[in-house]
Symmetry: C2
Subunit: 356 residues, 2 copies
DNA sequence: CTGTTAGCGCATTCAC
DNA sequence: GTGAATGCGCTAACAG
């Protein structure tokens, strides 16, 4: 059997309470006693049983998730994943609150962060906007020793504990590589469609894309970036204009949201040369477009994985314990029509028997 | 607070022991009593605290992992991941045994499965070989109510509980799509390099690849499949011969292992037309070749994820509880030079402070 | 068939 | 400063 607190107590010649005090770094133990206990712990190779500790503490983890509101399909999918996690909270000992704030709105986000802080939760996960005010608000949380995880879009320069999202520079580079190679011999400029340069993930994707296009595929000019504010209607209008203005466009990289507008604009094109289209985030719209051949590649981040990872990391940080690093790396999924996963409406797997 | 067994007992007017009996579907309870308790459970919305239950049981999960031996880099990486899991066994309450058997050897695998069965573990994970004898051996385990998860290569027609691996047909299709599009206008036949048609994953990849090549890229003839037995030396010789015999080869799809041999053969080619190369599994060798531009795409399955998933599923099956379905879907990673993840020698993430 | 009781590993009152 | 006792939610002897 693995050693318990009793074994430590026996080995160190003290009582359970004293062992507990040094284990949880509480005051009221003489230095000599403390050292004696610490040596015993080291010697017998004790590792704390977190489950038992949580049981004894009746520990629950109050967590706050702050997400953008609006009808952005990806963000709504993200929220759905948080709600799925809420459904598991009895098992996972979490108590999760979801807060939504208008997208690209710094003041609203700061207010939400400060309000979360007032409730002194065990951790906060937030889809960040890159701004000094937001950095300051996050650092206020950290000053209160509240762990913070950024979700989807990171916040460089802040004291956030962890980022649960993909490497967006690599995403942009990958998009460029695929674009360049899919274009093959064809000529023509490439258009880039973004949401807003306010959020770091969009900026990073653009950087990565530009770098590789310039490095390896300089034959294709890049058109000025179209900022569609992730708004389908606006995106449709702007993309329509761009396609009309430059009918020779060979490729489009959509690095933000509002892809419904992009798809609508593409559908309106008739008898035109084929365009290679690469977009982000697998939603019902991009999935259908991929199947129809309107979109060639979808780069995706798994919202469910991001949410589960954020929760694991926040709990671990709250307890001051380590996590499995590789498990928390969010991968960039690359979907072609050929490796599209089956749609899943349920999060559950049958418990028994049935072959899947 | 959430309801406990005591609450059930009180609500149903019975004792703790009786509640426990119906919760764990043990015999010795009258049907009326059982129904009374079940109704109470339903009514107050009880959910069992698995952590507390495991604590009381001092539950450990003896698990057996059966992997092919030999110097196949991917399989050694898989084994390393199992050993990493062994390092976590104190926390995860597992007791994992690793058994290695010669690759592509049915009798050895059957013997290993039967031996595992003799130890009546809580679950078995196995890299399967497609054979009636192996199916029978797996079904013997299931007959003993021992959960079985196939790892990497599945075993259709068996009663295995779950498959922890990628969709290999989709992998083959994806390889063909990328191959066809990367080849663009270029002409020339495509060579396929496999390990052995004995294992299902290789056969499925080949099927998927052939289908899409025939459907969309029939301009490229497929050369006869080269079976390299996942042996680098043999692979090098066979690929060298193929390249010499057909200097106009435009692409190579390596769907098995032994890629060291492939890379060596490619390196020996000088002043020849470029070849589009797509290979499976990210190892130190394929990673280097990707960086050097010798390989264009690496399709990968995350061995760490597969092992962790297998363990989660086996534990869940042993307890008869559900798992998060989406979390157990193993994704096909597509790596270009541009989205190669950083090498990680450690599995740990720092517990405190440090920015990553 | 059903109930009583002790204990899993740990945290937390309280006395001393 | 330190120790003894009690309980977290659940399981498992052992009585009845």
């Amino acid at each position: 059997m693995r050693p318990t607190v009793h074994d430590i107590a026996a080995a160190a010649g003290v009582s359970l309470a004293t062992v507990d005090r040094v284990l949880n770094q509480r005051a009221g133990v003489r230095t000599v006693t403390r050292e004696k206990v610490e040596q015993a712990i080291e010697r017998i190779g004790y590792v704390r049983d977190v489950a038992a500790a949580n049981l004894a503490k009746s520990r629950v983890y109050p967590l706050v998730f702050i997400l953008p509101s609006g009808d952005n399909s990806f963000m709504r999918g993200l929220e759905e994943q948080v709600r799925a996690a809420i459904g598991r909270s009895a098992v996972e000992r979490t108590d999760i609150t979801v807060v939504t704030v208008p997208a690209f709105n710094v003041e609203a986000l700061v207010a939400a962060l400060d309000e979360a802080r007032a409730g002194s939760p065990a951790g906060v996960a937030v889809v960040a906007i890159d701004s000094p005010d937001v950095i300051a608000a996050v650092d206020r949380l950290r000053a209160d020793r509240i762990p913070v995880v950024t979700l989807v879009s990171d916040l460089a320069g802040s004291k956030r504990d962890h980022f649960a999202g993909v490497d967006n520079i690599a995403a942009g580079r990958t998009a460029a590589s695929l674009m360049g190679r899919f274009l093959g011999g064809r000529s023509g400029p490439v258009a880039v469609l973004a949401g807003s340069m306010l959020v770091r993930d969009h900026r990073e994707r653009l950087d990565g894309f530009r770098t590789v296009m310039a490095e390896h595929f300089s034959g294709h000019a890049l058109l000025p970036v179209i900022e569609g504010q992730d708004d389908p209607a606006l995106v449709e209008r702007l993309v329509g204009q761009a396609l009309a203005a430059s009918p020779e466009i060979a490729g489009i990289y959509s690095l933000g949201a509002g892809n419904r507008g992009l798809i609508a604009a593409l559908k309106r094109r008739v008898n035109a040369a084929p365009v290679c289209v690469i977009a982000h985030e697998l939603t019902q719209h991009t999935r259908a477009a991929l199947n129809d051949g309107l979109i060639d590649v979808v780069l995706n981040q798994d919202a469910g994985h991001e949410v589960r990872s954020a929760i694991r990391v926040l709990k671990a940080k709250a307890d001051g314990v380590a996590v499995i690093g590789a498990q928390e790396r969010i991968r960039l999924d690359i979907f072609l029509k050929d490796n599209l996963p089956f749609e899943q409406d349920s999060n559950q797997m049958p418990a028994e028997g049935r072959q899947d």
